[in-house]
Amino acid sequence: MSDLEKFRAETRAWLEENCPPSMRTPMPEEETCWGGRNPVYKNPDSKVWMDRMGARGWTVPAWPKEYGGGGLDKAHNQVLQQELGRLRARPPLSSFGIWMLGPALLEFASEEQKRHYLPQIARGEIRWCQGYSEPGAGSDLAGLQTKAEDMGDHYLVNGSKIWTSYGNYADWIFCLVRTDPKAPKHQGISFLLFDMASPGVSTKPIKLISGASVFAQTFFDNVKVPKDQLVGTLNAGWTIAKALLQHERNMIGGMGGANMPGSSGLRSPSVAAKRYAGEIKGKIANPAMRLEVAKHNMNSRAFGLTGQRMADEMKAGAPPGPASSMFKYYGTEQNKRKYELLLQAMGTSALGWEGKPFEEHELSITREWLRSKGNSIEGGTSEVQLNIIAKNVLRLPD
C-alpha cells in the first residue's frame, strides 16, 4: 500500500470513529463553531468535534506541527479533505484566526509569536476579530487614525474602529494603528495584537439590515499593549495588512462557486424555481426564469473552475497571481445574484420576516439575502477590487 493509501485508510477509520453523527448533518448558521474563551455550543457535539480535530492539528491541516497544525502536504491534505467530504463532515472550527490572522502570522511573525498564538488558534481557544476600518477610514483604509504611542515599556492605544465583525464576542483583536503620524500614510502604520479584555476596550453592537448584530463599534481609551505584541517591524504594518486582506478576499470570494454547500438543496436556484414557480415535465415552468437560472449556474460553474485553475497553477509552481481581487469581486457579486435569483424564484415565500406560515429555511433565506449585500462591501468593496485589478493586473495609469 502506498503511503497515501495508508494515510487514507487510517484517516477514514479515525474519522468514522471520532466524527459525531450530528456533525455529519448540514450545519445551521447558529451552530457554527467559533471557539473562544466564552463559547456557546448550541450542540455539545460541536465542541467534541472541534477538540478532537484540534488535538490532531486538523483544524489547520496544512500548518506546521510545531504551531499546532497537522503538518500535511498538499497531497495528504487533499486526502483528508476528500475523506471529510465523504462524511459530509461540518467544519470543526470557523475562525478569523484560521482564515486571516494565522496565514499572516506564519509569514510575518517572530518565532516566539508563532509558537504562542498559532496553537491557540488551531485549538479554537482564542477568538479573533479584525480592527481595520474606522469611521473615517473605509475604502481609504490607510487613512486610519487610531494611534499607538510608544510609552517605553508599552504602547498606548487610543481611537475607535467600526464594523468590527463579532467585536462583542471576540477575545483578541488584530488591529491596525498609526505609530508615526508624520510619515506618509502608508508608512506610519503598525500591526498590533491585543486582548479585548484589556482595560479601556469597549464595544457597542450595531444591528444589520438582516436583523442580526454581528458587528460592533469598538473603542480604545488608553489601552496598554505590551510591546512584544507588535507583529513585524514598527511602521511597516501596511504590508502585513495587505497580505492579510488577500487571504480575507479569497475566503469571502469563495462563496460564489458552484460547489459551495450553500448552493445545494433548497438554496439551489433551479430547485427553488421548480418548487416555488412550478415545473412542467421536469423543466422550470417559466421559460424566462429557466434561462436566467441556467445563466447563473453556468457562471457559478465557470467561477468554480477558475478557483480550481488558480489553485492548480500554484501547485504547478506559478506564483500566486494578483487573483484575489478578481476572486473577491466576481465571487461576491455572484453570491448576491444568487440570492436575488432565489427571491425571484420564491416570490413572497422568501420575503417573510419571522413566524408562521414561513418555513425556517425560507425565513433564513430572507436574512441571508440581506446579509449577502455586505459581501461586496466587507474586505474591500467591489469598486475597490476593480481599482486594484486595473492598477496591479492591467497596469493602467493612476
Binding site: 433551479s270 424555481a273 421548480k274 415545473e279 421536469g282 423543466k283 422550470i284 429557466r290 434561462l291 437560472v293 441556467a294 445563466k295 449556474n297 453556468m298 457562471n299 460553474r301 465557470a302 467561477f303 473552475l305 477558475t306 480550481q308 485553475r309 492548480d312 497553477e313 501547485k315 504547478a316 487573483a323 478578481m326 469581486y329 466576481y330 469598486e383 477590487q385 476593480l386 481599482n387 485589478i389 486595473a390 493586473v393 492591467l394 497596469r395 493602467l396 495609469p397 493612476d398
Partner: protein, 380 residues
C-alpha cells in the same frame, strides 16, 4: 482528475504556434485575402505548412498518420489563430472532419480518410444547417433508399469551407420528420458528384461559407458514415467538439482585442491625460478581465473533458460556447467603443474582430441556444 493547467508539451506547442502564426499568418495576410477577393478565401501554401507541422492531423492518432496531440493540443493552436483571425481549414477539416470520421467511420473509412486529412490532402466540410439559426435536428434534406444506395436531395446553408471542400459530410434525413433526433444519417459525399451544386456565400467576416444544393445525388451505400437513422449519435458529439474548438479560436481573438485595448488606454491622451486614468474605463476593463479569466478556465476544462472522454462533454460544450459567445460579444463592443472614432475605420482591425465575433457567435449555437440546452442537460 487532470490539473487545470497546460502541460509542458502543450505550452511548447502553444509558443511555437504563436511564432508561426504571427510570422506566417498575421492579420495583414487575412486582409489581403479579403481585399483581393481570393477565390479560396485561405492560403493553400499556408495550409500545406500547417499540415507539415502536424496540425491537420493534430487530433488524429499516430496509427492513422496523425500527430496525436488531442483536442487540448488543437485548442491551443486554434487560440493562436484567433489572435490574427487566420483563415484556414483547421476548424472544418482538422477539427470537424477528422472528428466525424474518428467517431463515426468504419475501419476502412478511417484508413482511407484520416491519413489524407493528416497529410493536408483532403479538405472537408460539414453540410448540416438548413436555416439561419443553429438547429441540430431541423433537417429536411432527404436521403431515400434506392437499390443498394441512396438518392440525396435538399439544401444546406452556411457550410463552413463548403466551396473548397473535397468531401462533404452531409446530415440527411432517412426517416422521421424535420426536428426529430431519430432518423438522421450522415453521408460522405464527394463534392464533384453529379447533382451537387456549391455556391460560395460572402459573409460579413470574410471567412468561408457556402450554400450547397443536392439534386437527386446518387450515393453508394459505402458513403454512409455510421449507422442508418442513428446519425445524431455521431452528430451530437461532433457538434460538441466543434463548439469547444471554435470557442478556442474565439478566446484567442478576445485576448488579442483586449490586450490591444488595454494598450490603447495607456497611450491615447485626452484632456491632457492618458484615457486609462479614467475610472469609467478602468472598471470596464477590469470587468472584461474577470470575464476573460472565467473563459480561460471553462475552455481548458472543456478541452480536457473531451480528451478524457468525460461524461459531461455536452454540458461543458454548452458552458464553453455560451461563455465565449458572451465574452467575445462584450469585448468586441467595448474594444471598439474604447478606441473611439479610429475603431470605426476599416483600416483599423477592431472592425474585423467585430464581424468575426458575430459570425462565430452564430456558429454552432448562440447563447440562448446553449443556455436552454444546458438547463435541459442539467435536469431543469
Amino acid at each position: 482528475m487532470a490539473l487545470l493547467v497546460l502541460n509542458e508539451d502543450q505550452v511548447q506547442l502553444k509558443d511555437s504556434a504563436r511564432d508561426f502564426i504571427q510570422n506566417k499568418a498575421p492579420i495583414a495576410a487575412f486582409r489581403k485575402l479579403r481585399d483581393s477577393n481570393d477565390k479560396d478565401g485561405f492560403d493553400r501554401n499556408l495550409w500545406k505548412e500547417m499540415a507539415d507541422l502536424g496540425w491537420a492531423g493534430i487530433i488524429i492518432p499516430e496509427e492513422f498518420g496523425g500527430f496525436g496531440f488531442g483536442y487540448t493540443g488543437l485548442g491551443v493552436v486554434l487560440e493562436e489563430t484567433g489572435r490574427t483571425l487566420a483563415a484556414s481549414p483547421l476548424i472544418s477539416t482538422a477539427l470537424i472532419g477528422a472528428t466525424a470520421v474518428l467517431l463515426g467511420g468504419s475501419a476502412a473509412q478511417k484508413k482511407e480518410i484520416l491519413p489524407a486529412i493528416a497529410a493536408g490532402g483532403w479538405l472537408m466540410a460539414l453540410a448540416h444547417e438548413e436555416g439561419p439559426h443553429h438547429a441540430p435536428y431541423a433537417i429536411a434534406t432527404k436521403a431515400k433508399a434506392d437499390g443498394g444506395g441512396f438518392i440525396l436531395s435538399g439544401k444546406k446553408t452556411f457550410v463552413l469551407d463548403g466551396h473548397v471542400a473535397d468531401q462533404l459530410i452531409v446530415v440527411a434525413r432517412t426517416s422521421g420528420k424535420s426536428g426529430a433526433r431519430e432518423g438522421l444519417t450522415l453521408f460522405l459525399v464527394d463534392s464533384k458528384t453529379p447533382g451537387v451544386k456549391i455556391t460560395r456565400t460572402l459573409m460579413a467576416d470574410s471567412r468561408n461559407a457556402a450554400n450547397v444544393k443536392f439534386t437527386n445525388v446518387k450515393l453508394a451505400s459505402n458513403t454512409m458514415l455510421g449507422a442508418i437513422d442513428q446519425g445524431a449519435d455521431i452528430l451530437d458529439p461532433v457538434l460538441d467538439r466543434a463548439r469547444i474548438g471554435l470557442a478556442a479560436e474565439m478566446l484567442g481573438s478576445v485576448r488579442e482585442e483586449f490586450e490591444r485595448t488595454v494598450e490603447y488606454l495607456k497611450t491615447r491622451q485626452q484632456f491632457g491625460v492618458l484615457i486609462g486614468t479614467f475610472q469609467a474605463l478602468k472598471h470596464r476593463a477590469a470587468e472584461m478581465f474577470c470575464e476573460i479569466e472565467l473563459s480561460i478556465s471553462v475552455l481548458l476544462d472543456g478541452l480536457i473533458a473531451i480528451d478524457e472522454n468525460r461524461k459531461d462533454v455536452p454540458q461543458m460544450a454548452s458552458l464553453v460556447k455560451a461563455r465565449l459567445n458572451d465574452t467575445y460579444f462584450l469585448v468586441s463592443n467595448e474594444a471598439l467603443q474604447m478606441h473611439g472614432g479610429i475603431g470605426m475605420t476599416d483600416e483599423f482591425d477592431m472592425g474585423l474582430f467585430m464581424k468575426r465575433a458575430r459570425v462565430a457567435i452564430a456558429s454552432f449555437g448562440d447563447s440562448s441556444f446553449h443556455r436552454e440546452r444546458y438547463a435541459t442537460l442539467e435536469g431543469y
